[in-house]
Symmetry: C2
Subunit: 607 residues, 2 copies
């Protein structure tokens, strides 16, 4: 076993037998944390996002936080009811890619697929960055290392997923329920304090620079939409529930929406009541809004650390759902021929390792470019998610129409589709210059790439399919054995050449005509029955004379396959190879485009 | 012609026929600039080096600049007289590597070789950095780009040398004579000014922190020794002179020493008389000492720019001599088996391209690490040069002894050897912590690497030499043809396999037992007479079952060579290949250490 394999074994673990592939069925109490961590964790940054706009509206703006959050919650329930129907319609799992492909068409499916894939990348980048922000809020001295912490987080998640981390309920349950407990407790303690007459604390606001108009409020609302990311997860994962799957999944969805409602309104109310103003990311001593609320209520006590630790943990879990979903979806799309086949290959740990690695690389790149700043990443995020919501709901509407089930159910889906479409447009417009344009460019690019990939695979299957006229046509083989000088390694190559064909020619390229006599003499000792061809090289290239001779040989008889045999001494340690001239590599490059030519290394192992 | 070759052709030019190899013979007037640019250019930084120490001795220290320079000149003539003898003893060229190898022994030769190679790298790094400093002295706004300018300079020199820049006399003559003219003119104008009563200008010195002791003066002298680097060049290049070679070379050497004497004393006197104090490198508005003298005398006039342009030009020329010498010397050492053979290969432009590239990469790395600061690079430089001087002179002494020519000539060489040995020790001791330790480490490392390389080549020639018992032993070939699925490309591979041997077996690795029936059916259409082996893969690896089967086949009959044939579809554009699974690469890696196994790609070209 080589060094590389050994390192891989240590990091990733031993191969797992196919028979161990299995699908755990989750009861609701465990399914909730597994599928809801992504959605629930968004409350760690959603209120802060809204406030970053509202503060420019002065006091009047600031106190719009709770009203805006209430509108958000209304939107949440519209989306939830739409997905409630999807769950019942697709008990085998109704991801946006599938629902829109089946009901609207392949193009819509690909748009949904592209925006979902981008969404998963951003789930990872945003959640891990927010998790790093929670950590640096606890330990301000780590602030300069924020980007490094986030990148390390992604790397660790990638490694765990390459090992094949089972989505085991218990691992998810502790941080998710811990987070809910911590935040609900914090809000409750805040309410208790308020009831004892603490606050409202007037916020320390920057100068008012914007009027509180409708446009202003819509922009603030758009920022908050990030709270809804992740709500589709339960609909995607119905088959993982215990029977009756659809019913349990639907119930869990409603439970999740209830928790999300309490948390969004609770955090927004707390921020508003205790006058918490968001800080500039990267500013000395930056703390998230949640960290500021916790610090206001609990000071530097262990409870403060509990709240933030749970926040960091659930955010890393949320990122982990990206690692579960991205490889699975990209594998689906690859099966349809729109992404590289390599994404379909299941590794020796029963995971789609190529998808995991792709996701990790892209999200680490994003984190580095955006310096792990959630505020700059989110504009790329929400619009894509809402686009896939829209396509999914629109797909449901088409389905109801197709099945002629036009009634109140179709109405709900229609409301969902129209609402999420409107939000998508709002998000694209209000955040276009802040980063949503990148999303648009990325989706358009991915559509182009996907179309190109499918085109290539179609062409490949056309080209490679065996037709009625195809047959095995007999060929002859001519071996050209390269002989730089006579050494022991050549003997093996001579034997091999003679075992392959009767038509062997030895080729020697000479830079120095004076040495030809010696080569000929040496050759006669062992290769007497093989003709030796001496090639001159006026330009001192070893490659060009050989190429020319090969071209000549091929031209002589097009039915002949020319096998070029390059004898190669293999040293005991690979770095010794750096001291050898290795003609095979440039020769292979040069022969790349030649038909009817095959290159073979015959290796001679040094003791 | 591929894209890469096209780029290479544009940058490097067309191949040159061997018959065009030639050696230009230079008359003295052209030989002087070609061989003396390195030595003469050192005056651009030598006085500054001395002053960086002397200023710590206050006024008393500062006014030791001219006396220290006089000692330096005395040392110069000792070295010059020694080399004068070398020229006469070695009219075919008496490089330090050769003289010490022949007269002291291989080990001494290698020490000289290692220190020379390091010296050439530093010639490039120091000269180009000093050239960049001359440019930024002219245009202070370019100061932040100093390192980039130096790196670009090295890259351009490398490219010119890869094209095979002839050391054409005229190209060297203009900047070298221009530089001499500019500096001699500057010194003369300074003398004239002084004679009209300008100065001496009292220097603005930092606080005195050191006493002007002997140790202090020796340290200052050691810094100045960098002025002598490059004096060996003429002795190395005797064969390039017009006949009588030795006589002409010796005369040129004396001419060079004369010019160097005038310049060193002239610049030191000017700096001292006009009170020029060296600035801190990297400090805002940094100017070299030569630039400060020129600016004091000529202000911002065109003459100032002429002096500095000539300085920059000669420094780049000096770096170019590194590019001429390093590849030539490394090729000599490689011929003796102490460096990789690749350094001996003459490229299609008749140059040792691998040596040129190595030199460029290493010196760019040095420039980046030392931020193109000549003051930090020089401590690594002079000691190595003086070590090779010492070994060369010691070799001459041994030669006189061997030839029983013990007389005044041997005496001169002995004085040279002892003096340069003393200076080497002074340089190592006084500058050890400033960087000379890196030189020591580098030489020791290189000695180890050179010994290791020679050992490997010796072992290689032992292992590969054909003994009396060696003979071509007949082998049989078994072909294992990998069949992922039946497609048109396979047909060609079947034909090829059958042309190679009668013992062909088709191998199919299956992840899904359900698909086996289809493969068998397909196979019977075309491969009826070839047995199809189906391999199970419980761990979903395509590679492992194949490896196991190969090992089994080899074990069955050790006289059999197993040829693994991997059919490969070659797309029209290489990037399409990214969309294909390519089994050959991991298979090759895995089979790396297996004997009696040969892997062959049979390619099928897509239209």
């Amino acid at each position: 076993m080589g060094l590389l394999s050994a390192v891989k074994r240590i990091l990733v673990g031993k191969p797992i037998h196919t028979k161990h592939a299995h699908h755990e069925r989750l009861p609701k109490v465990f399914a909730l944390p597994v599928f809801a961590s992504d959605a629930l964790s968004s409350v760690a940054y959603a209120s802060e996002e809204i406030l970053t706009i509202l503060v420019f509206g002065g006091m009047l703006g600031f106190y719009k936080l709770v009203p805006v959050s209430l509108v958000l919650v209304a939107l949440l329930w519209v989306v939830v009811f739409s997905y409630y129907q999807t769950i019942n319609a697709y008990p085998q799992g109704g991801g946006s890619y599938r629902v829109s492909s089946e009901n609207i068409g392949s193009l819509a499916g690909r748009v949904a697929g592209a925006s979902l894939l981008i969404g998963y990348v951003l789930t990872v980048a945003v959640s891990v960055s927010a998790g790093a922000a929670a950590i640096t809020s606890m330990f301000p001295q780590l602030q300069p290392a924020g980007t490094a912490i986030a990148c390390a987080g992604v790397a660790i998640l990638a490694l765990l997923n390459l090992r094949g981390a089972k989505e085991s309920g218990i691992v998810f349950a502790i941080p998710t329920y811990g987070f809910v407990l911590a935040l609900v407790g914090m809000v409750a303690y805040g309410l208790f304090k308020a009831s004892t007459g603490v606050g409202p604390v007037p916020p320390q606001l920057p100068e008012q620079t914007k009027d509180v108009t409708w446009v202003f409020l819509i922009a603030a609302f758009a920022r908050g939409c990030t709270a809804l990311t992740g709500t589709e997860a339960i609909a995607d994962g119905v088959p993982a529930f215990k029977a009756p799957e659809a019913k349990n999944a639907a119930t869990t969805l409603v439970m999740m929406a209830g928790l999300l409602t309490v948390l969004v309104i609770g955090i927004s109310w707390s921020a508003q009541h205790f006058g918490v103003v968001p800080m500039e990311f990267g500013e000395e001593g930056y703390r998230t809004v949640v960290a500021q609320i916790a610090s206001t209520l609990f000071g530097n006590s262990p409870i403060f650390f509990f709240v933030l630790s749970m926040t960091a943990l659930i955010l890393f879990l949320a990122a982990n759902t990206g690692f579960a979903d991205f490889p699975r979806l990209s594998q689906f799309i690859a099966k349809d021929g729109y992404l590289p086949r390599q994404l379909m290959s299941v590794g020796d740990r029963l995971v789609y390792q190529n998808g995991i690695i792709t996701l990790a690389v892209v999200s680490i790149a994003l984190i580095i470019v955006f310096k792990a700043d959630t505020h700059s990443l989110i504009p790329l995020y929400a619009a894509g998610v809402f686009l896939s919501f829209t396509l999914s709901q629109a797909g449901m509407v088409m389905r109801f129409v197709r099945l002629k089930q036009v009634g109140w159910k179709a109405g709900i889906s229609l409301i969902g589709a129209v609402t999420t479409a409107a939000v998508t447009i709002i998000l694209l417009v209000t955040r276009f210059t802040e980063g949503a344009w990148i999303l648009v460019v990325a989706i358009v690019l991915m559509m182009g790439v996907m179309a190109g990939i499918r085109k290539h695979y179609d062409y490949l299957s056309r080209e490679l399919s065996v037709g009625p006229d195809d047959s095995v046509r007999e060929v002859k083989t001519t071996v050209l054995l390269l002989v730089p000088r006579l050494h022991r390694g050549i003997l093996k190559a001579i034997a091999y050449s003679q075992s392959v064909t009767n038509d062997v020619r030895a080729i020697h390229v000479t830079l120095d005509p004076a040495s030809v006599g010696k080569i000929k003499e040496d050759w006669n000792r062992f290769g007497a029955d093989i003709p030796l061809v001496i090639l001159d090289s006026p330009y001192r290239s070893f490659i060009e004379p050989i190429i020319n001779y090969i071209d000549q040989t091929v031209a002589e008889d097009p039915s002949v396959m020319v096998t070029v045999i390059v004898p190669q001494a293999v040293p005991k340690f690979w770095w010794h190879g750096l001291l050898h001239n290795n003609a095979a590599v440039p020769l292979k490059l040069a022969l790349q485009s030649r038909r009817n030519v095959v290159i073979t290394n015959v290796r001679y192992f040094l003791r």
